[in-house]
């Protein structure tokens, strides 16, 4: 049989609960204020995550990208980005999204016999031309990367 009784509202928090809640509130609000400010210290200005700078996708113009690998036998082979990774990753690379460019270069280094990976982004705006180079060391950890305008 159905019960129509109205349940009491939840009890008001006691002093101990309030102190705990207060500490959580302070930490949570502080985190929310600091997270967007991290943008000011970001190396990659196109990385606008967690900043509330815009609610729409970035309308930044894509750059023209070319990439190639240098193999141990001296052969230089072009990489067709579109046939290697999903188009959305290609878009990130063409917009010079640093984390994705770095990961892409690292990924190419995983192939056997690759000595060096190069990627160049030619942009028709203030970003100019950026070159990325990754030397694939034997242990995959000692790498050199340069980014130039």
């Amino acid at each position: 049989m159905a019960s129509f009784a109205t349940e009491p509202p939840p009890a008001s928090p006691n002093a101990k609960s309030r102190r705990r809640a207060g500490a959580f509130i302070a930490a949570f609000v502080l985190f929310q204020f600091l997270a967007p400010l991290s943008y000011l210290g970001r190396e990659d200005a196109s990385d606008e995550r967690f900043t509330w700078r815009r609610f729409t996708r970035s309308d930044e113009v894509a750059c023209e990208t070319s990439a190639w690998v240098e193999r141990a036998d001296g052969e230089r082979r072009d990489i067709a980005l579109e046939s290697t990774i999903h188009q959305q990753w290609v878009d990130y690379v063409q917009r010079d999204r640093r984390a994705v460019v770095d990961a892409f270069l690292q990924k190419q280094c995983e192939a056997p016999g690759v000595l060096r990976v190069e990627l160049v982004n030619h942009c028709d705006d203030a970003r100019g031309t950026r070159e990325y180079s990754l030397r694939c060391a034997e242990d995959r950890s000692a790498t050199i990367r340069t980014a130039t305008r």
């Binding site: 019960s3 009784a5 109205t6 008001s12 967690f50 609610f55 290697t84 990774i85």
Partner: protein, 375 residues
């Protein structure tokens, strides 16, 4: 009580946290199914991935993983919106949803991060039943709900930064700044003694509505924000009336008090609940997407975890309603997937990408599946 303490722990109309939680959870369920799952085919392509956070380094989520996580999150979210939510379930929803978007930069929709912040707030919301949030006497129940205040302050923080970045770029910033101020004072409207403030706060709710109608945004952000604004700023009386009307079925559900011990009828309900937990995820067999079956099965396991002792202890009907809410979530997922273009979009986008990459065998296979679900 000091003013800061009064701000965070002062009374609010319980209808607000009740409706805000249900509204966001229900919308989140359909958002994950209709907007996120169709994007799932691009996950795992080329074994390449970059996550939002470094702790996912080296992890390449497959499309099955992504769709499974979202099915799990959506079904659990809708089940919690349908029947009285449980804190463990909200923790699992927050974890699942955050895992869903944060495991890859392929999902860089700004408001998904905001929803994760909301879900963290929801974990600390009072877990209200319809009967405790809406009285039949007409007087709206009030109580302390600091997490609801935090929810409003979280929203205010977003508008603050929208205004700040606009100001930094030399653009107009007064409207988002007004939204920020509105959300900061909104929680005071149910306890303020000042009639002027009580009348002014609902009017301030127009600011976020206008802002989101005028500002283009991704996906369903406007629906979330306008819905939340209506719940947060609406005057108490009409909101309580609306809530009372909406929750009439929930308030009339049978819920016998505990009599102690387990009798024959309690055993029957126990076995019925167990059977329901097994049957509910089977609905996912009719959904032709990778990961959905696993996601729905995990939802049933999560529900078992949520119910815990409730499964064999009284109030006896509560496990039945919980299992019914899970069944409702699974059925809603199935109906949504079959009635919408979600499955078609998933396979069609996958086929287009496979074609572009020169993987024609995969493209043909995906296109055949897409045709099966063509609108």
């Amino acid at each position: 009580m000091r003013s800061l303490e009064r701000y965070w722990f002062g009374d609010v109309a319980l209808a607000r946290p009740y409706l805000a939680l249900r509204f966001v959870l229900a919308l989140l369920a359909f958002d994950t199914w209709l907007n996120m799952i169709p994007e799932g085919a691009k996950y795992g392509v080329g074994s390449f991935n970059v996550a939002h956070f470094p702790w996912f380094e080296g992890f390449v989520p497959s499309s099955g993983f992504y769709v499974g996580v979202l099915s799990f999150t959506g079904v659990l979210a809708l089940s919690q919106a349908l029947y009285r939510p449980h804190r463990i379930a909200i923790v699992l929803i927050a974890a699942g949803y955050t895992l869903g978007w944060s495991c890859s930069l392929l999902d860089s929709v700004a408001y998904h991060y905001l929803l994760s912040l909301y879900l963290v707030c929801f974990v600390f919301f009072p877990m209200l039943s319809a009967r405790s949030a809406f009285s039949r006497s007409g007087e709206a129940p009030r109580g302390s709900a600091w997490a609801y205040v935090l929810f409003c302050v979280t929203t205010a923080t977003v508008y603050f930064y929208v205004a700040a970045w606009s100001a930094a770029e030399g653009q107009s910033y007064w409207l988002p700044m007004l939204c920020c101020a509105a959300y900061l004072v909104a929680t005071m409207q149910d306890r303020t003694e000042l009639p002027a403030l009580r009348s002014a706060i609902p009017l301030l709710g127009v600011a976020p509505v206008v802002f989101h109608l005028a500002t283009p945004s991704q996906d369903w952000l406007s629906i979330y924000t306008i819905g939340i604004a209506l719940i947060v700023f609406a005057p108490m009386a009409p909101l309580h009336q609306l809530g009372t009307w909406l929750t009439r079925p929930a308030r009339n559900l049978a819920d016998e008090p505990s009599t102690g011990g387990i009798d024959e009828r309690a055993s029957r309900l126990f076995y019925a609940s167990l059977l329901g937990l097994i049957v509910a995820p089977m609905v996912s067999m009719f959904i032709d997407l990778p990961g959905v079956k696993t996601g729905c099965t995990l939802t049933a396991i999560a529900m078992l975890l949520v119910m815990g002792r409730q499964l064999y202890l009284t109030p006896r009907w509560r496990p039945v309603w919980r299992v019914a809410s899970l069944m409702g979530g699974c059925l809603a997922l199935w109906i949504t997937m079959t009635a919408s273009d979600a499955q078609f979009d998933y396979y069609q986008r996958g086929a287009l990408d496979a074609d572009r990459r020169g993987d024609h065998d995969t493209a043909v296979e995906l296109r055949e599946k897409a045709l099966r679900h063509a609108p």
